[in-house]
Symmetry: C2
Subunit: 244 residues, 2 copies
């Protein structure tokens, strides 16, 4: 079974939702048969690369609220993060363009390090005061700590084309699947769960998707399929000469 | 869409079947959306580790045929390999236990190098005269050429427990799916294709599985799901206080 999670590093509910989903997964009977893949979604793709903005000012400006109101929203998010044992900095945190992080997450996927990298990026962004935006060296350090090769990481960061198409493809797929916000969880391309739902909802969704797994339709359902070269415990059958 | 291919390195039809499947995949309109995973299947798990047997003698002994008859079977396999542009040594090739190769293929999967490693192992086994069995140094060389880390490869080879459970899990799944020979192709856990079928059959199967992809059932189908924390282009909604 496969779960795909569309997320953005700048998305606090993604950070919280991942932890809730993982609690559900840890308690799921078929946990070993579940593969998790993280997919890219940028909340603000037009944010100028390399620039940063203080989160509280951005929220206040974006919603025409006071900094104090923005601070209250952040406090609620911190409560939710606390509930999952996650660090959350409400003051001084900044935000920016996440495209390069998504490109690195695709490199990490290819190297089997995606989960470690996304955890490192979330922690770096939400639990620590230093900025993750506009500081390539910090990204490199987090990537290396997640098990990526330093030279390979730098090669991706300096070449804006590397993995760019993969990020765009993820975003197109999200749109096709009807996701207009994140986190967005897709189980076996069959069930969609939107938002940082309670653990019990993820547990239900896992069970529901598991129960809905299709039975295998054998080869005979494929037109033209006949006897073909196959090896079994008793040897390799060689089909009639025109079988290729 | 995901295609899982159960194979054994000692299986000539797996070698040929992979090439045929890939030809179909190269011509498939949605190629970029197809992920391929290789899964483990041992044709002869009881073969003593580290020992080797000449393939022609083994075939003759196993089937009570003459070496000449065994040679004819190999010649037919070579014709099929030739048809895919694959090297195939019919004389002097040996066989043995493939468990360690499967363990390495699981390491390679974790490092995003599985396809490169399986190609290297097939080539080493079928297209070259040197033995792949009982020669750990040759395995290391092939793994490193496929992009794996040398120290990590050696660490897996010297510890028979590493990835052993993953190999066994693949084999259990193959049995559950009804595979009693390889290659065995499973498309989205929905269609099963057995054997090195003609390219057109793989093309059909890909199209059929693509067309059968389920539509996404939204979150509301999951009991208990309600408004939950989600971030969109316009910001992060904070749900009612008991929403965690």
């Amino acid at each position: 079974m496969r779960v795909e999670i569309w997320t953005d590093i700048a998305c606090p509910w993604c950070y919280v939702g991942k932890a809730r989903f993982e609690r559900a997964l840890d308690g799921f009977a078929h946990r070993a048969q579940v593969e998790v893949v993280h997919r890219s979604f940028e909340l603000d793709p037009s944010f100028p690369k390399g620039e940063t903005v203080r989160v509280l000012s951005m929220l206040a400006k974006k919603y025409g609220m006071s900094e104090e109101q923005a601070r209250q929203g952040e406090a609620r998010l911190k409560e939710n993060a606390d509930g999952e044992g996650l660090g959350y900095v409400t003051e001084g945190r900044d935000s920016g363009n996440t495209f390069d992080m998504h490109r690195l997450l695709h490199l990490a996927k290819d190297r089997g390090r995606q989960d470690a990298l996304i955890d490192g990026l979330y922690r770096g962004n939400f639990a620590e005061e230093e900025s993750l935006f506009g500081d390539a060296e910090r990204l490199v350090a987090i990537a290396v700590a997640a098990g990526l090769d330093e030279a390979e990481t730098r090669a991706v960061l300096v070449d804006p084309e590397k993995y760019a198409a993969d990020v765009r493809a993820d975003e197109r797929e999200a749109a096709e699947l009807g996701a207009n916000g994140v986190p967005f969880f897709v189980l076996d391309r069959r069930y969609g769960v939107s938002g940082a739902q309670p653990v019990e909802v993820f547990a239900q969704a896992l069970q529901q998707a598991w129960d809905a797994q299709p039975r295998l339709t054998p080869v005979t359902a494929v037109a033209g399929a006949g006897e073909a070269g196959v090896c079994g415990p008793d040897g390799c059958a060689v089909p009639p000469r025109d079988g290729s």
